[in-house]
Amino acid sequence: MNREQARNLLHAAREGETLASRALDSFLARLLAVWGAVYALGYGLFPESGKAWAALVVAGFTLSFLFGAQEGQYLRSGVGRKLALVWSAFGVDLFALMLAGERLGTGEPLAINLLVALAWMASGVVLERGGILLAGALYALANGLVFALLPTLYFPLLAGAGLLAFLFGIFWGIRGLR
């Protein structure tokens, strides 16, 4: 076998790896689109309405678990199980934080978004994707800075970030289907 043939075979192997990555990415892309939409609607239209937020969060979790169940019919892996654990733990933490927020008053939006960032960073570690880990870290940093320095813009910027996440999730998902 010559070098050119070996190169072509390596190309076939990389193609196989890329196809597998897309299979994993499509689930994350759908989650990103769902939660981006929750943020865009929640922070954009009903930032102060607890009832509207509760409905959006329930819808978000319902869709996320439906997607997870659908994915599990075709693909089962240790990575998938770890991702399910990360996001289930996030759900429990979110619920606990919302209860605490009800009792203690304001301040929970930042904590919730730091939890979101942590869940994304953990997903990046599980998937061995540095870009996702970095995006989670930047999201945490941006949240802290805006919350501290531009508090009046916090909700509008979160709505904008949600819209961006929604569009990125759709784009990422469509690219993964190709």
Binding site: M1, R3, A6, R7, N8, L9, L10, A12, A13, R14, E15, G16, E17, L19, A20, S21, R22, A23, L24, Q73, Y74, L75, R76, S77, G78, V79, G80
Partner: protein, 98 residues
């Protein structure tokens, strides 16, 4: 030399790369594998049989609800053979072998 004649075939190489990337304990449903790799049912079945006979894959039948499903996963032997084969290809591309 770690060239593996069985994995050497491009479709089987792509299939092994796909399963290796998903992780050591991953299992994929037959139809998804067929769709993602763009293969016909018969073609995929033939490749899977050869790889299973060599002990590189495990094929399991099961049910999701009432629907029968076929799950495909990589064995440790298959993973080692694939990684060694790719290493050998990379060595050749770098000009360290012939």
């Amino acid at each position: 030399m770690a060239f593996d004649e069985l994995i050497h075939q491009p479709t089987r190489l792509k299939l092994m790369a796909y399963l290796t990337r998903l992780g050591p304990d991953a299992r994929v449903e037959f139809k998804k594998l067929q769709r993602d790799l763009g293969l016909t049912e018969g073609n995929l079945s033939r490749h899977l049989t050869k790889l299973e006979e060599a002990g590189y894959l495990r094929v399991e039948k099961g049910f999701v609800g009432r629907r029968p499903r076929t799950w495909v996963g990589l064995t440790g032997k298959g993973r080692d053979a694939f990684l060694a084969h790719v290493q050998e290809l990379e060595r050749l591309v770098k000009g360290e072998g012939a």
